[in-house]
Symmetry: C2
Subunit: 233 residues, 2 copies
């Protein structure tokens, strides 16, 4: 047999993944049991177990206690997206990062915001609009509401040098977040700030982060036309 | 001490994640060593190890052999996106899925496509355009090039009932893929097919899948305005 020896679970996982993608093990097929795979791969059974568990967690295998392990019949490809601080994203592309505060005010948010953040309709929140730049050109506009009942320190922050995007990472607690990606047409205000034609198609990232049941912040980031969020499958 | 007993690595991971997000362990901070955490959590040291390893893999912890484990100073939030077959995505929203083939032809692709797919400029590929529907309304338009040198069976497929989106999952091998998300303005053709105004902002998913060094297929999916790709942090 030509199968090389697999020394760690990652290499076993790669080989199993290769067989799934190459359709040597097509969707729905029962794969050999762990003991047989351990013999074939020349490794410990626990190594095979670790690799199969990891693939089951990512939805590529269906594991049943008695019925064995099958290749998922309706595979869902999982793509992982890194959500970095904008400064790091800009600097990673080799550009010079810049930041400009547009407005900072305490205000009662529109009901669409208080509804999403589950604050009371009359509660005032901190509203910050700012521009992120790459090599002195507009890169993204940030429109953010901060719940100062949850992050009281934010009320004292001017956000004139350090962005809320960056400040919150260091100072705000959160337990989980909702994120969505969409395409929106630039309104007059965003078009002017970004220096693009009104109705341009902008990539939008909407994010709400939560500290248990309370919303910490809600932010919309609108990126210049041409922006692509890339990853691998 | 009030700390409950942690029975498995997932519950240890949740607790560590909670401490990181709640800033009990702030960015850059050295966390207790595995042996101390095992005592605190009332579990095996290997359970703590498994949990920390998983968090290091997702970029939240920095582990150094001698220097111990620190909370990552520049945490990158990772969002996992499920890329399902469009039929499943529509059906998961409780809608009726529909499919219409628009065109199917063998053609020399534009250089932008042959360049990306790394095929020779004069090579003919299979070009399929199709509409995906939800409850009889347009949902997404698919524009796809298939490399029949890699997937010869595709040349015999009419794609009039079963979409290439679905057929390829069952029949085409792949080893890896590149995916990107962006916002584009609808051109005249896409606007007509989707029944929207020209220049509408459309959410675009571009994907190229590879079988080792050869491109299997390149597809652009354009979704109706209002489409959101959602996930959790």
């Amino acid at each position: 047999m030509n199968t090389p020896t697999f020394r760690n679970w990652q290499s076993v996982q790669s080989e199993v993944l290769r067989r799934i993608h190459a359709r040597e093990w097509p969707p729905g097929e029962l794969i050999p049991n762990e003991a047989d795979l351990a013999i074939e791969f020349g490794c410990a059974r626990s190594t095979v177990n670790r690799a199969l568990r990891s693939l089951a967690e990512s939805g590529l295998l269906d594991r049943r206690r008695k019925a064995g392990t099958r290749v998922a019949a309706q595979p869902v490809a999982k793509a992982t997206i890194d959500i970095a601080v904008i400064r790091h994203e800009v600097e990673e592309h080799g550009a010079k990062y810049g930041y400009q505060l547009i407005t900072r005010r305490i205000a009662v948010p529109p009901v669409s915001v208080s509804g999403t953040m589950k604050t009371r309709a009359q509660d005032k929140l901190l509203h910050v609009r700012a521009l992120h730049l790459a090599d002195d050109a507009a890169y993204a506009v940030e429109d953010r509401w901060i719940n100062t009942a949850i992050v009281p320190d934010a009320a004292a922050e001017p956000f004139d040098v350090l962005s809320a995007n960056e400040w919150l990472i260091e100072h705000a607690p959160y337990t989980h977040g909702d994120i969505s990606f969409s395409a929106v047409q630039a309104d007059q205000g965003d078009a002017e700030v970004l220096g693009v034609a009104p109705l341009s198609a902008l990539f939008a990232i909407d994010r709400v982060t939560w500290d248990n049941a309370a919303a910490v912040t809600k932010v919309r980031l609108l990126f210049l036309p041409g922006y692509k969020l890339r990853t691998q499958l």
